[in-house]
Symmetry: C2
Subunit: 462 residues, 2 copies
């Protein structure tokens, strides 16, 4: 350990106590990466586990005094390298700030510390007949991490993303000043919306120490429909019609045939789709409906089935509960299936939902030109396309990704719908975004973090 | 006209043409105020009507060069003085940028210029079976103004406020640089959310020249229920139960007995509520439901009626269509009724919805202490309480308002739910808000507007 690191650890121990600071390999090694496939791990000088906003403030004052870069970490399940520290920097882990502070039934609100996981919150709200609806693939993800990336997931088509659920925050600025934004309030028009500015900022503006989240009545019944189609274009064309029909889907996902085969095989899942139907299916639409009324759900499911048939589905399967649950779980695990299949990167471009077919055609052409494969699935109702990229050569893959992002942006889309930019996509983001916008974002960054200690190299340059 | 103003007008005419610039009283007098009751009008040096983002950019370059303060103006229906210019400043009116650029049916999106009114957009979307759901009292309000104040209204309990509908913006910085944020995208995690930062910033960060708005399927059927209660507390206590019931109200308003009497009298509206019921009613709950299915609507309306009876409603009236429409219209016009009744100010504090009874008790006590009256109604589902303040003395009224805002904030609320801070409430906002937060907002303001030419004196100090 260098002298600087030793002094740092001593200062941090003075704030949080010696048991809450860790230094030295291999102990800190696990804190050097997240789940991003294409970013190199880094060894931090130390990991610290604060237990309160006051301790986070103390930690940030130490880091500011010593000009040590700080990376916040929830569960480390991010896919863009935003939780990968600067080598020799400090990781602030929120694993020991994982309390659900309040479930407020009258206001339909939960107040949580950032280390609370989605699973933990789901279990806590279920007893009250309430639900926190954000449902990204990884339910071990923390709410702090969800706020940092503006996590989305399968239910966003009905309930929106993290941004739409966070009503207020407590956050610590790099100076150690603590701010509170918003509250148990569905609306406010009282100054700049700092809540929304911090959401999705990937740990570069402030460290979130508490979040006030919107809850909803938990619907009693769900129905799941799986529809194979002869082409991805037909699937994509069906999406706006399903949304416009008014059935209000909870989930509206597409999966290409390869991805469906891979995840059902990985999970040893037999959906009862005959071999001849599978052979002719190029893509699948997965639709889930929910309701408090069993009879309304049945009527809507029937109506949805007729609509999908009219839109060209070769078959319409209403999946029994257990199969439906296992398919949704398998869909959640797409990332792991793609990783196991040897994917070199995962991207999640977002485009206007009606532009999905055009984007997928462009993606196939780009991949072909680079002798690569891109395969995937996506949140069809949101226009959020998740693609596994198979191309081992870093240079070729970088060129392919640049073209892929550019194609999405040309269609009015953006680089990421829910994974964030992180370290992995920073260069692409800086190269493809209007310089006036980047300059403005840099000025906003300075307004929060003039010394640039918060997650340097994530989103913007160091 | 001073020499400076003459030169200004000449420069502006060079950008937009001489027909699009106006100077000199009484011509510009109408542009010196909005609908705020408690702010003094001001005479601008000139009013300019740009017709494109490029012209807005040119106008802002002129203003920056000449250090002339700039106030953007939509329909001038704001209630906080955010459209009141600095004396001798420049008003940029968006009346001639009032085109609906696109209704995109597949993506459920409208792209509009800032001068488009809510009425205009409602008429344009109706033909497609779509709806833009934000429904503040004043439907002649412009979308640009709605974005500037984060307008809310009666339907926010179901659909959210302006912030939840705006997917992207085109905006001009004071330098004349044009940025585009977001897009036809329900989600994105690609850099700081500039869209959300500009929404609700009351013309102090950038001038919005285009907005991309989310549309929804327009429901076919509506039902309206009016329930008198013996006390405001009972009404407020009923609100969380109605939300939790899952009927998904489109509108959930409370009106105190005085306000109900005033608006029905002003609109000469007979709701068929017998005199003895009216005499015993201290407050009313107004609930509107919507559905595409007539049978489901009937079942939900019946269920709602039973619930309200259980919760202490003295009667439950299902209003016939015409009466319902007229009552909602009368509710929209509450501001005008209060103004006609001689109210000296209107405020719209927002608190956690379960805290409405406590806030109303505090408000009554504060008013009594100051020998004043506060009466009103509000968006009960959102905790947004609209109060007409009757107190002619400016000093007494300022003290009363300070206490009222403080009481709301003590309950976890904020000064304004949807009207904004503007000029009227700036001093209260600066005095009652944590100085760390104010300092951060000032730094954000400087990141957009280093010369401070955009709406100085609104929200923050000049």
């Amino acid at each position: 350990m260098t002298g600087v690191a030793a002094g740092l650890v001593e200062d941090l121990a003075g704030v949080v106590g010696p048991d809450q600071v860790l230094t030295g390999e291999p102990a800190v090694e696990d804190y050097g990466h997240d789940e991003a496939l294409a970013v190199h791990a880094a060894i931090p000088a130390a990991v610290v586990w604060p237990r309160s906003a006051a301790e986070v403030a103390g930690v940030l004052r130490v880091a500011t005094d010593r000009s040590v870069p700080v990376t916040a970490r929830g569960s480390g399940t991010g896919l863009s390298g935003a939780a990968v520290p600067v080598p020799g920097g400090l990781v602030v882990s929120f694993e020991r700030m994982a309390a659900i502070l309040e479930i407020d039934v009258d206001n339909h609100v939960a107040v949580v510390q950032p280390g609370v996981t989605l699973t933990q919150l789901d279990e806590a709200t279920a007893g009250y007949g309430l639900v926190y609806p954000v449902y990204p693939g990884e339910l071990s993800g923390s709410l702090g991490g969800n706020v940092a990336t503006n996590a989305g997931g399968m239910r966003a088509v009905r309930y929106g993303v993290t941004r739409n659920q966070v009503l207020g925050l407590e956050a610590v600025l790099p100076t150690g000043e603590v701010i509170r934004t918003g509250g148990k309030l569905a609306k406010t028009s009282t100054g700049y919306d700092l809540t929304q500015l911090i959401i999705g900022s990937e740990g570069t503006l402030a460290l979130v120490t508490e979040a006030t989240l919107r809850l909803y009545p938990r619907a009693a019944h769900q129905a799941t429909v799986l529809a194979p189609f002869g082409s991805v274009d037909e699937v994509a064309a069906a999406v706006p019609k399903v949304v416009a029909s008014g059935v209000g889907p909870l989930i509206l996902e597409y999966l290409d045939a390869f991805t469906m085969a891979a995840i059902t095989h990985a999970q040893q899942l037999d959906l009862g789709v005959p071999a001849e139907v599978r052979e002719n299916a190029q893509a699948y639409l997965l639709v889930m409906l929910e309701s408090n009324h069993d009879d309304r759900l049945s009527a809507d499911t029937e109506r949805l089935g007729e609509l999908l048939t009219d839109l060209g589905a070769t078959e319409v399967y209403v999946l029994p509960g257990p199969s439906a649950r296992r398919l949704v779980e398998a869909r959640e695990k797409t990332f792991w299936t793609a990783k196991a299949a040897g994917a070199h990167d995962i991207v999640d471009v977002v485009v206007p939902r009606a532009s999905i077919p055009e984007f997928l055609r462009a993606a196939r052409a780009i991949a072909e030109r680079h002798g690569s494969h891109v395969l995937g699935c996506g949140h069809a109702g949101d226009g959020n396309v998740h693609l596994a990229v198979f191309q081992a050569d870093d240079t070729v893959r970088a060129a392919l990704l640049r073209e892929l992002f550019d194609a999405g942006m040309t269609l009015g889309g953006m680089i990421s719908g829910e994974h964030g930019i992180g370290r992995c996509k920073r260069e692409h983001f800086l190269a493809l975004t209007d310089p006036v916008t980047i300059a403005l974002m840099r000025r906003i960054k300075r307004a929060f973090d003039p010394a640039g200690i918060l997650n340097p190299g994530v989103l913007l340059d160091q």
